[in-house]
Symmetry: D2
Subunit: 229 residues, 4 copies
């Protein structure tokens, strides 16, 4: 399973349609597209709702069969009405509630709302900045979920900590970016210019991508975990 998004440094945003089409053509695995029109909170205007509906419909035409979505009220509850609008557009795709879940005011109430809305999974770092920090909370979500929905630890999951996270949370799967830093292919470097808001100039000539090496490493770790259970 692949989750597709752009702008990971902002926590992930909706990818362009060209990106969706090319990844869809390239891989046979199920693809979940992140639908998040901007960084920041998960309280959306009517215009932003319309953008998300349009993005979902356009992705469905490309053969996308899964979406990661999430809308909250200003009080930090799952906005059931607005999430339902997105679900209507997404039908019959598989639904993932993304890390907006980590921003809710009351997780037991939010989890029940998400289960009622027929989501298949929730991505969460346990209301902390990484799944390892939030593992004790994630374990509580797994208990309450009681197989009604998959609780998926996400955020800072690495080969080094994935076994601890799965052991501590008893979660059945995990979510990771398998990011590694790769160097630019440019032989000419202009180090005076920063395009991004990066603190260090190196950013222009390296970038973070999912690497074969790290995907393989995660796969080996996962196989070991499976065989030891």
């Amino acid at each position: 399973r692949i989750e597709l998004c752009s702008a990971l440094s902002e926590g992930g945003l909706t990818p362009s349609i060209g990106m969706v089409r090319r990844v869809r053509a390239a891989v046979a695995l199920p693809i979940t597209v992140l639908v998040r029109p901007r960084a920041g909170d998960f309280l959306y205007t009517d215009d932003e709702m319309a953008i998300m509906v349009d993005d979902i419909l356009a992705c469905k035409k490309e053969g996308i069969e899964g979406f990661a979505i999430g809308v909250l009220t200003s009080a930090g509850q799952v906005d059931v009405e607005r999430v339902s609008q997105l679900i209507s557009a997404a039908q019959p795709a598989h639904l993932t509630f993304h890390r907006a879940f980590d921003m809710v005011a009351s997780w037991p109430e939010a989890l029940e709302a998400i289960i009622s809305l027929q989501f298949s999974r929730v991505l969460t770092s346990g209301q902390h900045s990484s799944a390892l920090e939030g593992a004790p909370n994630i374990a509580q979500y797994v208990t309450q979920a009681a197989d009604r929905i998959n609780i998926v630890p996400a955020g800072g999951v690495t080969e080094h900590n994935v076994a601890r996270i799965l052991n501590e949370t008893l979660a059945p799967e995990f979510h990771c970016s398998a990011r590694g830093t790769i160097a630019s292919g440019m032989s000419f470097h202009n180090t005076r210019v920063h395009m991004s808001a990066a603190v260090y100039p190196i950013a222009e000539y390296s970038r973070q991508v999912a690497t074969q090496e790290r995907v393989t490493s995660f796969r080996l770790t996962a196989n070991q975990l499976n065989s030891s259970q």
Copy 2:
């Protein structure tokens, strides 16, 4: 004129198709869409070229009449062959060469290549991190361009420095984000969680958008500049 992109903190990326459609429906001004599939350098793979071509075609169907594009060779030259592929897809749209220009090895050669390719304008911060820092260089580009193409100062342009930048560069127009920070509408805040790679936790509950206030302020400044010339 409006330039549309997502993920400004990464220097701008291609927006989602829903974003393109809704902005196209909302505004009567000409819209230029930034076509940049990822942050980092401007040396693209065949897959990334295909993504950009698809994005351009999809945006044209939505009525977009301008694109900001740019591809470099590993040696830091304008990649004439690959830029031509994007131009073929974009025809008959207006063409802007984006800040990839700030990353070229030899600007006089790059500027002639861009003029030959029939671009209408070049966005540039003068091979520095802001247009104010690079203004003396931009002035040289304006001189060489000699009205064959519009040199457009871009990067860190504010109401405070726009008059100095136009005076120093003699550029006929400028490019700005008119960004201001707005607070989140959320009444509930979870300050333990960071979604983005932000250094400070405040980021989750404020964001930077083009504000009416700053657009008005730019307009007033621009009017004063016009009337004083």
Copy 3:
């Protein structure tokens, strides 16, 4: 026990002599002063060695009885000769080897070297960026140390994770900054100016300090841990 340093955002630097004197006058607890003349690696020039020796001697005159020090060779070994020079200056103070330990090439060899040099404790995040991430490694250090030296988890230790860290590592104590963000007392704010290299403007008018609230919170957590063992 208090460890005194400046510039926590750079990982901690040697505090000024005025800071040392006033904190010494204000608290009856034992004080350990961090001796680190600049951010970055732990490979020091002769001048930097001389600065550290001078700082240690000046702090001893102020009644300081503990120092956190560390010097590595370019190959990532404990630089026994240079550390011995600092120890000679520090005698008879208590010695802590700071997180330079996290940057060594071979921890078993480094740990034996540090024990031979008569250090009382080692601060470590288990060769990861936080003690929680590095906890499995820290547990190995505790086993090898076998009570010959105190292994002290340090780096990102909070009320939320301290119990997990102590349980996983079996370490006898921990190190934390008990930092909280406090607002500035300034009623006038100039939000146009950034003094520091901070990404977000908020930084000028808040700062991170050890707060009474968090110290109390850590103390309560520690008491619960003690009574449950």
Copy 4:
């Protein structure tokens, strides 16, 4: 003339006494020591005042003949009483008012207060984040100062912009860090560990120092400016 401080990434803090002593021993130029006990605003507690007085007295014993200081009231005025306390300790040293000036509510009033207090110079970026951005404001300060005090542009001054800044402001001197990034001498790198709050891992194995190359470059630029006036 040299200004000595630590923790430039926090905007500069008071250096350790060992640093002061060794730099004093190494250079014959006049040295100004920055006295700033922590990052953030310039509203200080009684304890922080006492720390600054102690630091000034200790530096005087080491032969330091200049100090950069600054204290504001919560309303953003120069705190004349508290600044006078620091001046009493510093007598008869030369006095520089540091960039706290950029944070005052009313610069004309603040400038007159600083002149009355017998300061020799004021460091300023013109109430913006860099001296180039703030140059039009700095020009106003120079006019009002009318040779009663030296207005010194500071903040982001480089070889590329120093001539423009001096031309636009008519300031008689400037302040720069002449920083360059140097690589670490370590042959062994542990890239898993971040000591500082840095966003990019590179930070552990490079650092920014005043380099001979950039000092020479500034000197050449300054000579050209002098000979052309």
